[in-house]
């Protein structure tokens, strides 16, 4: 079984791109399973189910979804093996732009969209910078020049990645993506001993633990103050 981790900012088109890509896998008789990670709510699993493939979803609730992802990925892999799929795809949203659920030696795909603004590539951290493949969506509604500028911006933060343009609505580019993200010779049996590509952010303060009151006396743990001084 090959494992592919897909992530990207919310609403960038991950699910649409994946559905079109999976359709191409199924046409070539490659079986696929999907596990969708999200925070509070998702019904994307319904869309995946329509493809007739095994699907699971995981809602992280009050936890950071990427932390939740890492603590569950081993079980997810076991599920994929049990389902006997050729390709297992995990999809998760990078909600804080700092996290990245990529694992060393496991194919990492980042999906971002042309509408998100040209400074976005700079704002997204390791999720974009350490991806193997960057998929750019929504190219059908912006101008050629904006696509070119956006692509250059992505390239300048991640020159190693293969950058692809995929239209999540028409599926243009999805066939090509399907030939890239799956390596038939790759077999993942366990993630035991593997490592994340980049550490997740350190954050542990009273608010992580459910504190709602505001004020210094309620702030415990890893607290940092904003610099509001006039001195430059």
């Amino acid at each position: 079984m090959d494992l592919i981790t897909v992530s990207g900012p919310p609403s960038s088109g991950k699910t649409s791109v994946l559905i079109k890509t999976i359709e191409n896998f199924l046409k070539r008789d490659i079986s696929v399973g999907v596990v969708k990670f999200d925070c509070l709510f998702t019904d994307d699993d319904i869309y995946f189910k329509k493809l007739g493939i095994p699907v699971k979803k995981g809602l992280s609730g009050s936890l950071c979804p990427d932390h939740y992802f890492v603590s569950n990925i081993e079980e997810v892999v076991e599920w994929g093996l049990k389902e006997n799929v050729d390709v297992l795809i995990t999809e998760s949203a990078g909600l804080c732009n700092r996290c990245s659920p990529y694992i060393q030696d496991i194919k990492a795909v980042c999906v971002i969209d042309n509408l998100s603004g040209i400074n976005t590539p700079k704002k997204i951290g390791p999720m974009l910078k350490s991806a193997d493949i960057v998929v750019i969506t929504k190219g059908d509604i912006v101008s050629q020049a904006e696509r070119e500028v956006f692509t250059m911006k992505v390239q300048s933060v991640n020159p190693k990645a293969i950058i692809m343009h995929v239209n999540g609505l028409s599926g243009q580019g999805a066939f090509e993506l399907s030939t890239f993200i799956h390596d038939e010779t790759k077999h993942v049996d366990t993630l035991e001993g593997m490592k994340l590509r980049y550490p997740m952010p350190a954050a542990l303060c009273s608010y992580c633990l459910g504190e709602t009151r505001i004020g210094k006396s309620h702030q415990l743990g890893n607290i940092r103050k904003i610099d509001l001084s006039d001195i430059k």
């Binding site: 350490s130 912006v142 070119e148 390239q155 020159p159 293969i162 028409s170 952010p201």
Partner: protein
């Protein structure tokens, strides 16, 4: 540039040698100001752990990416001279697997080709085959040669050397920039040498194509449909590196389509047009007819068809005039010669 040599350079020297690397430091949130005399390793060794963590800097990845970025940029400049002259399409199969019935289709720069066929017939697939320089590895099994040869994998999937630029009705400008700022940004990202000249050329051409002129200070999101289309076409013709321009229907309103096509041709582009507008289709040299996922035939535009073109253009002009009269609050009159 080898990794070894890179690590010997001071950051200041690196910026002098490869000016674009400065933006690379900025984009990766690596603070270098005041440390230009350091080498990269010295910079990271003297950097606060907290800064590295806060800016999510992966020092190893940063250095190896930098090497790759310099290589990429060098190849970008080097490939500037290569011109794609011809695209050759060899047959594949229809959706049902039967073979396409043509020997080969050759398209040269400066040619306009229309692509016609019902919705869902496979126009997009043909364009995607061209865009990806298919090598019998797409669902149609077509083979596409560029300048008579199969492209290497790194050429096919290079983001900075894309073969096809696209223009369509649905495209809009989304950036909050003025016309001038927008052109400046695009020219900068293309790293052209004669930036100022390019910007003026595009601006002038766009104004020529647009029915109504616009100023340099207009925000691009406030341009009318015709003005946007005119600016997109002029910008793509002059500044886009892609040798093939794919046009998905351009509407009639507010843009001189003939001039637009002439501009693209004069910039040595290959123009592929997906259209069912007879005026546009007849402006093309030939048209590719698609059905059931396959190329059914290639029709050369005949002399007779060309003679219809002028009549169609007159009809089109009459309609436009009527539209203008309506806009100005006048009454419409039926004219006999129509």
């Amino acid at each position: 540039m080898s990794l070894e040599n890179l690590l010997k350079l001071s950051i200041g020297d690196l910026f002098l040698k490869f000016p674009y690397t400065k933006d690379f430091f900025i984009d990766h949130l690596v603070p270098y100001k005041g440390h230009e005399n350091y080498t990269i390793n010295q910079l990271f060794n003297n950097m606060d752990e907290e800064v590295i963590e806060d800016n999510a800097i992966n020092t190893e990845l940063f250095i190896s990416s930098l090497v790759e970025y310099i290589e990429l940029m060098n190849s970008y400049f080097a490939s500037e001279q290569v011109v794609e002259n011809t695209v050759t399409i060899y047959p594949g199969t229809y959706k049902d697997g039967t073979d396409e019935n043509f020997t080969k289709i050759e398209i040269s720069k400066g040619e306009i080709i229309s692509i016609v066929g019902p919705t869902g017939s496979g126009k997009s697939r043909l364009l995607a085959d061209i865009e990806w320089a298919a090598n019998e590895d797409t669902p149609t099994k077509r083979k596409v040669l560029i300048n008579g040869r199969v492209l290497e994998p790194h050429e096919r999937f290079s983001a900075s050397n894309k073969l096809v630029a696209q223009l369509s009705q649905n495209m809009n400008f989304v950036m909050d920039l003025s016309v001038r700022e927008f052109l400046d940004l695009h020219a900068t990202s293309r790293m052209v040498e004669n930036k100022e000249e390019m910007i003026i050329k595009i601006y002038d051409k766009a104004n020529e194509l647009a029915g109504e002129g616009f100023s340099e200070d207009t925000p691009i999101t406030e341009l009318s449909g015709g003005q946007s289309r005119a600016l997109m076409i002029a910008d793509t013709a002059i500044l886009s590196k892609s040798p093939i321009i794919l046009i998905d229907e351009i509407e009639n309103a507010g843009i001189d389509r003939q001039k637009a096509l002439e501009l693209l041709i004069s910039e040595d582009k290959i123009v592929l047009m997906s259209t069912h507008d007879p005026i546009l289709a007849l402006m093309g040299d030939k048209r590719i007819v698609i059905n059931n996922g396959g190329i059914e035939s290639v029709i050369e535009t005949s002399e007779e068809e060309r003679s219809i073109l002028s009549k169609l253009e007159n009809l089109d002009k009459t309609l436009m005039d009527m539209r203008n009269r309506l806009r100005l609050g006048k009454r419409l009159k039926f004219e006999e010669e129509l």
